[in-house]
Symmetry: D2
């Protein structure tokens, strides 16, 4: 059950709703969106109906939830949302590129990759310090030491940091370094993790599970939203099919479908979708043309020695093509390429 | 086993190879490509090796076939091919649009759809007279009467006709009306049909089976090529996955992957991929941007009363968007939009 | 639209229905089932309704078809059917095993495989003379010469012959040798072929397409039934999934699901499902236990030199296990193991 | 890298290995298996090789890990393992049934379901207190209150308790109530959770992710094993495919394939696989016949009012069929049906 507050509702009005729900033995999660505040209720629907919440001051509407997601749905929020990450907007009017190494390995490798990313037009830095790997014998990441490297590189380059968190117990620690928390494909239905990032006070990048339907993906986003965090960016990164020529099958249709069902921004990962360096450029073109709100791309100064997913990382020589195509196609799709913060400051002066 | 003839090989040289193979109890299929002639051998490899074909006059190379396709592979034919359909080129330098009704229903509906298609930039007319339908109780098409309608509309509009053939026994009859024979997704591994269209003397549009790997798709093309017909255009039209939001999942990566493995042109069907009218425009944009050599799109004057796949057919009002985007994006991808023959004639004058 | 005739309807009654339909420009297909005759109509439903067929003599019921299959559905025919192949029953009370080589190679290999099959409890012989292969460079079968070998081996062993047909044009020829016509997985939606085998006067083994839903499989059977042939046996042989440890994924649930939706017998192919010799025995056990009406198993005297699918063919030494388990489990499932005809004759004497 | 200790290795020998690894900056996880102790190393392989661990006392073998799993592989441990849960064995010689309600709702419902389960032959009780649900608006379980109910029902019935844990942070708490910790399909690659249950000192039931390959499933088990816990039971519960007639597709072949690759017991969940009550009995038969080491089945006194997955829960009237078939088929497969502990005690007296 969801309680939609009126635009003019006061903090006291909201608190009164929450208190009523608590008194009835339920749980209430307050989500403050761009245009209004929503209170999500978990518990016995019969008990909640007996409360007659619709009669409380400041309450606009009480909705029974029949679809598996509501707060993230476009039906209830027709305007497409803009999510800001360290000041960088991701939304319907911009093209924002996140780039960086799949895994943080050394300060030098990370800085070099960040500078490559920036030169290619990226305004956000990606890099993994905690790597969820299929085998326990694969490289697992540097942990907190990797986060410190990312923070140093952010200081040097001005690029806000997007990094993965894999355990509810370390969300707070990771959030203390990151500008955006990434939930990876394997954790898309790790509900404890979704709830933890929903409460962490940082924007979230939610990758689609490689065998999740679009409805399940949006339902996972709803878990985050229900904790009061609507700053969610969805990322299509390929689904698992019978085809073996590519690592995954980029579901390019998922971009317009998800944008129609949800007000959240949707970006595309052309690197993990195909798992092949030679596909990154054509899939980037397709992603921009289909209407994606952004891109997330693996780059590495020396892909051959990368500890993780080197086959798909772009090298310096590939990045000119990305930079060119992003500059060329974005304006045709009605979008402004987001520039790195530092450069924008310079421009502003 | 494949025998590659030297560029200067004479008809007699080729005949000598074929005769040797026949004498050894094998079958030989001659394929005359743009730059050279290839003889495909079927039968006992040991027997063929004993023939020492490499020593015959005009033979450049004798290859044992280890991959499932050879004549259509790019390895043996690095230049990407151009296939001409009623004079209209489909290949690396052009953007050619095939459009028309899923099923031919009446002369009026077909003509109206053809005029819509032409106005939207199509240079080729599609239309089904034989419809392979999952249920025997669904509309099965008009048969030869439908082909006559298509021929009449071609005469009126100047658009060459692409139409499906579903039975080896009717290939000759369909080929007498059509400019290009379409093999549908369900028949991609109907090898008797592939062999029949390979011998029919008309270009072939080979749709990817909805659960075929790219390797199986190219192997199916090889069946056609082995009969001496290299005028094959591949068409990606979506694969079957667990996702139910779309009818199929457009495998956009298949376009660059197939173009890398094969010299044949690859086009995209944004209508059947998604099965939803609202997805045709974004998927068309993605297809052009990823590098497709053409498009095939369903249009219908009154989709609501269409006897087949009305949910995905574009109406008059949608076509302006298609025309605009094709004109805008094609030149950026280094392609010239192919114009209808009649108009080109006019221009030429 | 389907017209169900009363049990007491005469040939004249049936002809009258057919004539009416023809007069209205439609097509009528008469199916004589065990308990009643059904006339399937293809054409304009509105025209048919105007005929008021329900008022004709001998007509029990006129049904509009809303699901994609009707004649093969259990809803209209609650009793499960028995299909007889050369006198051998396949149905709810028996366990019938079809075994033999994937491909007929030589008279010796075929006879030896048939004797192995018989010793293991098979009452029907399988063997392919026309092989639909993914690559044109794979072994394609002996053609009619292979059918003659099968006929000879039948004469020697008393085992009726099940063999694949891949082309509508050769159905009549293949039917002149075979006791049962097999439609392979790749041809499950080759509608021209389905219609041809529906008219051939021989029982049909319809393999499930490797990416066909159960509904599509039954709809394919309906194409055969609509031509008047209800002697159809369905065969589950594995579907295509992301799992690569097995060649296909045996959909064991499809057996009870198809038996609930259709009155047709359902058998299982444990050889092609897994594509691994070591899985044939456990999958055979699972198939019998789940309630399958029969089995089809690859055997070969020397799998290592088999021209087709040797990895999955059972050898002599494996067959004792199959014979034992079939004898043990079948009675527990309320089934009698079908014996070869010759032996039954001997028993009868 | 994995260090295999000799059978006669002492605690001091093991400690010496661990200390060496720590000194080199690596991590070492000791797994005490039935026949030998294994030390799993995580860190820089080059550094470890420099240690020359093979020369230390009590070390039998040092293996570089090339496949993604080792401790759970059968290659290194040919004998199939038996896992004991509250004294109940799950392994190659027994048939052990886990049954109970999908979700714990009330003390009465749970007790009633447990008594139903016991009467049907179950020796272990399942019941969910923490439910990972696709939508945050679905019933999420009673939490710790549910665990208390399970403990009470165990005291009353003598059935050890199997229950799901969904968050690394609550593993210790759940383990204080449960006899076996279940990791659900959605959490199969929640590596933080796998590591936490690996350290919890209780046997683990690891469900296969619904789109996980068998190799990924065994790799997930390796994460648990690496923390020193080899008491792992694998559970096949259906994979995601294109087929929609069933909720998931039971991959029956996965049972023999996983048993061949790993020494761990493998059980089957016929309830979640099909998601349909009418399929539970046939799939149970197939599971026993294919060689599964056990079953996990949903039962509910009143499925129509179940808060979770009522469509698939068996009712009292269905259970007689399960009890009969398990008693009939298990001995044929060389297995003794495991009896509930209390009853066995009685028998022992």
């Amino acid at each position: 059950m969801v309680v939609v507050m009126a635009p003019e509702a006061t903090a006291e009005n909201i608190a009164a709703v929450v208190d009523s729900v608590h008194a009835a033995g339920g749980q209430a999660f307050v989500s403050r969106g761009v245009s209004r505040t929503i209170v999500g209720l978990v518990g016995d629907v019969g008990d909640f109906e007996a409360l007659n919440l619709g009669s409380l001051a400041g309450v606009l509407q009480v909705m029974r939830v029949s679809v598996p997601f509501k707060l993230v749905s476009r039906e209830n929020h027709p305007a497409r949302s803009v999510v800001r990450v360290g000041g960088v907007p991701i939304g319907p009017d911009t093209m924002s590129m996140i780039a960086g190494p799949c895994a943080v390995e050394t300060p030098e490798q990370t800085l070099e990759a960040a500078l490559m990313a920036k030169a290619a037009g990226a305004s956000l830095l990606r890099g993994g310090a905690f790597k969820p790997r299929t085998s326990p014998y694969s490289y697992q990441g540097l942990g907190e030491a990797g986060l410190r490297i990312l923070a140093d590189v952010r200081a040097e380059t001005g690029l806000p940091v997007v990094t993965e968190v894999i355990d509810p117990g370390s969300v707070e620690m990771v959030a203390s370094y990151a500008d955006m928390l990434q939930v990876g494909a394997r954790n898309m239905q790790n509900f404890a993790l979704l709830q933890a990032v929903g409460s962490a006070g940082k924007p979230v990048l939610l990758k689609r599970g490689f065998s999740a339907t679009i409805e399940e993906w949006l339902s996972a986003a709803e878990y985050i939203a229900q904790r009061g965090n609507l700053d969610i960016v969805l990322c299509e990164r390929g689904i698992r099919t019978f085809e073996t020529a590519t690592r995954n099958t980029l579901d390019i249709s998922a971009v317009p479908v998800a944008q129609r069902l949800s007000h959240l921004p949707v970006i595309v990962d052309p690197s993990h979708s195909g798992g092949r360096r030679d596909l990154v450029l054509p899939l980037t073109r397709a992603a921009i043309a289909v209407g994606a709100d952004g891109l997330i791309i693996d780059v590495h100064p020396q892909p051959k020695v990368a500890l993780c997913d080197g086959d798909q990382a772009l090298m310096d020589t590939d990045l000119k093509g990305i930079a060119d195509i992003v500059s060329l196609l974005s304006p045709l799709m009605g979008r402004t390429l987001t520039m790195p913060i530092a450069d924008r400051a310079a421009v502003a002066v």
